[in-house]
Symmetry: C2
């Protein structure tokens, strides 16, 4: 069995006793029912991971661990991909954040575009962003990734598409003309932006802005993909070309 | 806007008035609120599709259409893939059937293996299979596919892995040794079986049976994939190699 993993952003080699964040301590004590002496793994969310041992389980859920030895983290993709996602309904966004974390993106960047139809409470404010971050942390724990992707503040589409990236890909409908299907892409840019529209798709002026900023139009197969599953399909295809 | 699509297994060119199945008639009348004269599309689930017009909306939800002209269906993959899936919980299985339909499989073949942990009511009996078929139909409608994949009767893993296929792929954990990551696969077999285990993974004897039947061990990247999302990741990777 693999060791249970915990997200400990304050993990530092050499520290005597490292405290777990409250949510992680709760998970360790009350969900997994571990106690002093248990072998666990901890990762700092920025790419480092250690075998560790539980050294203290105090009152009010305080849990401390000591690091036993650094271990190699799961490999990260060589391309830093930002997933730009047109904001979807709450549970669909949760699934996108979870799956994009599992599929190795560096950043999830929600955007607002003409056909985003969900109310602003779905995407505005620190509480929403904090929830997406908790989902990303939970997914990183589960998929054994040592990096928690950044959740960017939601921005207008036009700002995101113009941000600096080596490669820009915009996913379009199967019926779109002049889209590339074969991924005739330059091998492995350093950074890439992958843009996936909301359920309503793209407004013509958005496709034009994307064209002007040098985005490649991309289709993934002849069938219409569901908005919340399109990111997984496109990312899997990209890693198959660029290397996992 | 695309025409709304309906699944009409009895659609035949030359027929004067073609009746919609009850569920489709209900969808047309009460969800989409269409009436006589509406332009729709119908597909027979076996690969043919037509533009059609509503010609009759009778009592007790009866709806008839006439075919106006045959239209080219969405392209099907050149490889007939059977997705063998270790049975998961009810809602996860629903998601797998839905997404596998969208990703072009010919057949979904649920199997029972050592670590399948769900009770038999989740997978046994005609009612369960009928529900999976309804999900496949709904997904085919939504993704604009003209073929509804077959839902096979759940079988023991050992029977499925020995069934005749040109290519057998078994998906294993990222930590597995001697698995191929690079998809060094013969280009486009005619038929392929893709085996994805249940949440508990594979028993050693199952991996041995798979080896004996010539299955290639396959990993998709360095992170642990969720059981219900693994099919989508693997199928997307395969189509990227074999062509969508």
């Amino acid at each position: 069995m693999s060791r249970p993993r915990f997200f400990v952003p304050d993990a530092r080699p050499g520290a005597a006793a490292i405290a777990l964040p409250a949510e992680e301590a709760h998970h360790l004590r009350h969900v997994l029912r571990l106690t002093v002496g248990a072998d666990v793994a901890v990762f700092d969310g920025r790419g480092r991971e250690w075998d560790a041992r539980v050294t203290g389980v105090g009152p009010s859920d305080a849990v401390t661990v000591e690091l036993v030895g650094e271990i190699p983290p799961a490999t990260e993709p060589t391309v830093r991909v930002t997933l730009g996602i047109g904001i979807l309904k709450g549970d669909q966004m949760n699934a996108v954040v979870r799956d994009a974390t599992m599929l190795g993106v560096a950043t999830v960047a929600p955007f607002v575009s003409a056909y985003v139809s969900v109310p602003s409470r779905v995407w505005k404010g620190d509480a929403v962003r904090a929830r997406w971050r908790r989902i990303a942390i939970a997914s990183a724990k589960q998929c054994r990734r040592a990096i928690v992707p950044e959740i960017a503040v939601a921005t207008p589409f036009a700002d995101l598409v113009r941000a600096p990236f080596d490669e820009r890909l915009i996913c379009v409908e199967p019926s779109s003309s002049d889209a590339t299907t074969a991924f005739r892409l330059p091998p492995r840019p350093a950074t890439a932006l992958v843009l996936i529209g909301p359920e309503g798709g793209w407004a013509p002026e958005e496709l034009e802005v994307a064209r002007q900023s040098g985005a490649t139009r991309l289709r993934c197969g002849p069938r219409t993909l569901r908005a919340e599953t399109a990111p997984m399909v496109v990312l899997s295809a990209l890693w198959t070309v660029w290397g996992w």
